[in-house]
Symmetry: C2
Subunit: 197 residues, 2 copies
């Protein structure tokens, strides 16, 4: 059986996924967000791309059956399970500057961006090459008329999950999100496990 690993609140990690592995991301307490990045393990210039994915899916909300494309138009991950049905791929990971600009009354935190940059550094990923993440469980409704977006508490309940199958060998970054607006005002861990068929 695969081991379930905890990402403590406001932190992040990185690991390898082999082609065919299934990554299950679990929200153990409910209403928490987990930012996911994926790079081609054999060529870090290839990375998930929200723009390519939206273009091919013709949709900004993604769920079971949808594929996450790279900047080179290759499929990197396929969503194979999803008990929530609402995630975000519009926004970049929260960062020191997000806190500086959007949370003026709190001491800035390095955020998911800083956590991802630190976790991915040993694999050779440069911070400037971190794109918009696939933000598991993040609830960002968009008003189709005005384009206005909101960051609302996730729809996930304790134990909800989303699972991705790796379509190539990947380096993955994954966080337990650091921003209050994303998670309904409380910081919580994220769990994940890797299932190797």
């Amino acid at each position: 059986m695969s081991e379930t690993i905890e990402i403590p609140e406001r932190s992040g990690t990185a690991f390898k996924l082999a082609k065919g592995d299934v990554l299950v991301v679990i929200d153990p307490k409910g209403q928490q967000v987990s930012d996911l990045l994926a790079f081609n393990a054999s060529d870090l210039g290839e990375v998930i791309s929200s723009g390519r994915t939206f273009d091919y899916a013709e949709r900004i909300y993604l769920t079971t059956g949808d594929r996450l494309f790279s900047n080179r138009s290759n499929v990197m991950l396929t969503i194979v399970d999803d008990s929530v049905g609402r995630h975000d791929f519009l926004l970049t990971p929260c960062s020191y500057d997000t806190f500086r600009l959007c949370y003026e009354n709190e001491p800035p935190h390095r955020g998911c961006f800083g956590n991802l940059a630190a976790a991915l550094e040993p694999y050779g990923v440069e911070p400037d090459h971190i794109p918009s993440a696939f933000n598991c469980f993040m609830n960002v409704p968009v008003d189709g008329e005005t384009g206005k977006l909101q960051v609302l508490p996730p729809l996930s309940k304790a134990g909800d999950r989303i699972a991705f199958r790796a379509e190539i060998d990947l380096i993955v970054g994954l966080t337990a999100c650091s921003a209050k607006d994303s998670n309904g005002g409380s910081f919580k861990p994220i769990h994940y496990r890797i299932e190797r068929p």
Copy 2:
């Protein structure tokens, strides 16, 4: 007076903008799209970011007064004039793969991506570092309920324009879009001029 320059249909160009310069992008015939990229002229690792911009604007549709942020959360361009009010920042430039996957009955074209990569190469920009572009005049309505997006003909009429002030020294890439869906089924040029106050 500043000179008006034509970008021929299905092509692209690149040029420097100095801080304070105003770039005016004009749709001379109506219903044409122009993909815009901007890199920090003194450090190509810094580039416009749809994700940061959406986060700070709290909106996916941008117009006069809105600012385009970089991946490092700095303001690169401010929209100072806009006679259309509908542009896209969701989608990546059309590419060989876009044509291969979305226009199966036509010979693939290198698209705005290939045109931007070629035009920016002399400045040292690598193709893998081309992010989602700010797609002037591109009309991509999103259904707020389902997240479904459509690529519809632009709302721009002949002579319509959008203008950007450079907030730092920039390398800019700009195209006359190559994809039929973006421009109502016909390929047309784009005009631009640089106003130096």
